[in-house]
């Protein structure tokens, strides 16, 4: 389907396709096998200015050129995810880490951190999840206690994408445990801050090129000027960040699904059984037709949401959740069907579709499980219905 992308977005898409072809495809199986972070590829992306597409011009970025940055991030993430979702998430996690600063940071914080994030000199990560705080962000136990002009952080963050690789972390911590989510605050913590260390690196089912790590804070003193927004605004900062980043996960899902569809369609055009190409069998044809339709529908929803955000719409939590739920469910379905079409070969590591199936699963889980997304959608729907009744 023609989405009438701007010339700039087409350039961006082509550039990402080139990076994928030249740098990602040759090593994706190896990165997956070895659980290895793609540092060289991340550097190439930075040199190509990919880290700048969601950052405004005054902080060294190109967001305006792309009409805001959400659509640009969507297009880039989708294209990279076609080749490898693990590499793509390592890239996109920078945007997630930068978003609290972009959305709620002070002018000083923006000036201090965004230019280095735009140039790719530094990488970013967002740290909310803990062992007992997943879907329920109110369960955050990491504490931040004010002491003069610093905050002292204590606690452990879990499953942090880009952990150990990023230099700038936006961390959600509890400043007033008696107030639950209203007691949360957001901080910028730099790598190398005394008392901040890395814990274990996770061994995951999919997106294995990405780094997923524990962050450990032991009497870690962070300057008070690193508080994002105000004390007690952490939950709001986190929710705004996730609302805005969800189309990115959805784009990742669309990319994975498209990659799997391409593999399946190509395989079906070459594989001969019973003396004919298997794409001449209606059983396979209908599967491919459904896969293609689902991928296109997911893409249309994701692009519409990203364009809505770029257009300056203030409220998009429902659409953002819809895009994430739909696209990630499609990715799971389409990759599973792709493995089915490739049959025994699909189940083997020689072909990329089993990896795509493993990679797809996480998109239904992270940045808010699909169950949480459905709650968001339902609660928006209930509110809209109630408002209509008045």
């Amino acid at each position: 389907m023609n989405y009438y992308l701007s010339e700039e977005l087409i350039d961006l898409k082509e550039l990402c396709a080139k990076i994928a072809e030249k740098y990602i495809l040759p090593v994706r199986a190896e990165l997956d096998e070895e659980n290895r972070f793609p540092r060289e590829i991340i550097e190439v992306m930075a040199e190509s200015d990919l880290n700048s597409i969601y950052i405004p011009e005054e902080y060294g970025g190109f967001a305006e050129m792309f009409g805001g940055g959400s659509m640009a991030l969507t297009v880039a993430t989708e294209e990279l995810s076609k080749a490898c979702a693990g590499v793509a998430v390592s890239y996109a996690a920078n945007a997630l880490g930068a978003m609290p600063i972009l959305i709620s940071g002070s002018e000083e914080q923006k000036k201090k951190y965004l230019p280095d994030l735009a140039s790719g000199k530094k990488l970013a990560a967002f740290a909310l999840t803990e062992s007992e705080a997943g879907s329920d962000a109110g369960g955050v136990k990491t504490k931040a206690v004010k002491d003069g002009d610093t905050y002292i952080l204590n606690g452990t963050k879990q499953w942090i994408t880009n952990g150990g690789e990023a230099q700038v972390y936006t961390v959600i911590a509890q400043t007033d445990p008696s107030r639950g989510t209203r007691g949360l605050s957001a901080f910028i913590v730099e790598e190398g801050t005394p008392g901040f260390s890395y814990g274990k690196k996770e061994d995951k089912m999919g997106i294995r090129a990405s780094s997923t790590m524990e962050l450990i804070f032991e009497d870690c003193r962070v300057p008070a000027e690193n508080l994002i927004a105000r004390e007690g605004h952490g939950f709001l900062v986190a929710m705004k960040t996730l609302n805005k980043s969800r189309p990115g996960v959805a784009a990742q899902a669309v990319g994975i699904a498209q990659g799997a569809l391409d593999e399946a369609a190509e395989y079906a055009s070459e594989r001969v059984q019973f003396g004919q190409r298997i794409d001449s069998f209606q059983g396979i044809q209908f599967m491919l037709a459904d896969m293609a339709t689902q991928v296109e529908a997911a893409r249309a929803l994701v692009y519409s949401t990203a364009r809505m955000i770029d257009a300056g719409e203030r409220k998009y939590d429902k659409e953002s959740a819809m895009a994430k739920v739909f696209a990630s469910d499609v990715a799971m379905k389409v990759t599973t069907d792709a493995v089915q079409i490739l049959g025994g070969y699909g189940y083997m590591k020689e072909y990329p579709v089993e990896k795509m199936m493993r990679d797809a699963k996480i998109t239904q889980i992270y940045e808010g499980t699909n169950q949480i997304q459905r709650s968001v959608i339902a609660s928006a729907l209930i509110k809209e219905t109630a408002a209509r009744g008045k």
Binding site: L15, K22, E47, S48, D49, S52, I53
Partner: protein
């Protein structure tokens, strides 16, 4: 340091076919790309510019649509671009082409180095680079796999030739042709893409370069392509199956039966 990189728009040979009857390349519907070897020349030029300062100017001779490869080179980081285009340039062989390119280099003035890929993937002649040097009466180092030193006076480069490596020092100005070994070409950047959309590319024609008609294009070309053919495959491989001992004996017998000893 002022460096000129001579590039060529070529058909993507991965997609190209030969018209058996006419003995020519079938170019219709084949995508055009920047000659891959020229990317290494461009990268080498940009690396030295980044280190020593100066400018990299890309130039190509071709029809108006050849401008696309110049814009691509700008998106990768070239500073300026010049298109040599004129109906009179059509049908040029390597002599007429390099003569025209050399005139353009003279016209630019004060150029320190001309770099180009070791050859173009369509014609595969590897003549244009050396011929530019001859036309300018400059020294040349062909098949450069590594540039050891470069300063305002001289260059020291390693040329990779069959079975060895020659280290050559030459004074500037100089023409070098670059091998794949020299570097890894960078990808375009978004900053570069933005520039490449906006940059004005001057078009220089025969009159601007003050070249007489008989020195350009078909008229200026001493070579004529009479025929292009694909060599016939005269022997096919054989596949034998069986016990290793028997196969080894068969192999020895058949090798002894050939004239190769």
């Amino acid at each position: 340091m002022r460096i000129v990189v001579a590039v060529k728009q070529v058909p993507d040979t991965a997609e190209v076919r030969i018209d058996e009857e006419r003995g020519t390349l079938v170019r219709e519907g084949v995508p055009s790309i920047l000659n891959p070897f020229d990317e290494y020349a461009l990268e080498e030029a940009m690396r030295w510019r980044d280190e020593l300062g100066g400018t990299v100017t890309v130039m190509t001779m071709g029809p108006p649509q050849a401008e696309a490869v110049l814009r691509e080179a700008v998106s990768m980081g070239a500073d300026e671009a010049i298109l040599l285009s004129d109906r009179a340039f059509a049908g040029a062989d390597t002599w007429a082409t390099s003569h025209t390119l050399a005139k353009a280099v003279e016209k630019m003035g004060d150029i320190d180095i001309v770099m180009t890929g070791k050859q173009a993937i369509d014609g595969d002649t590897a003549q244009t680079g050396p011929s530019i040097a001859a036309s300018l009466d400059w020294p040349q180092i062909t098949f450069v796999g590594f540039v050891r030193e470069l300063n305002q006076e001289s260059i020291v480069a390693e040329r990779y030739v069959e079975g060895g490596c020659e280290v050559i020092r030459a004074s500037l100005p100089v023409v070098i042709t670059v091998l794949k070994d020299a570097n890894t070409p960078r990808l375009p950047s978004l900053r570069g893409k933005m520039k490449s959309r906006k940059i004005e590319i001057p078009v220089w024609g025969r009159e601007y370069l003050a070249l007489p008609e008989h020195e350009v294009g078909l008229d200026g070309s001493p070579t004529r392509v009479v025929k292009i053919t694909t060599p016939e495959i005269i022997s096919n491989g054989e596949i034998h199956h069986g016990e290793p001992e028997k196969l080894a004996a068969l192999l020895v017998d058949s090798l002894l039966g050939t004239e190769v000893h």
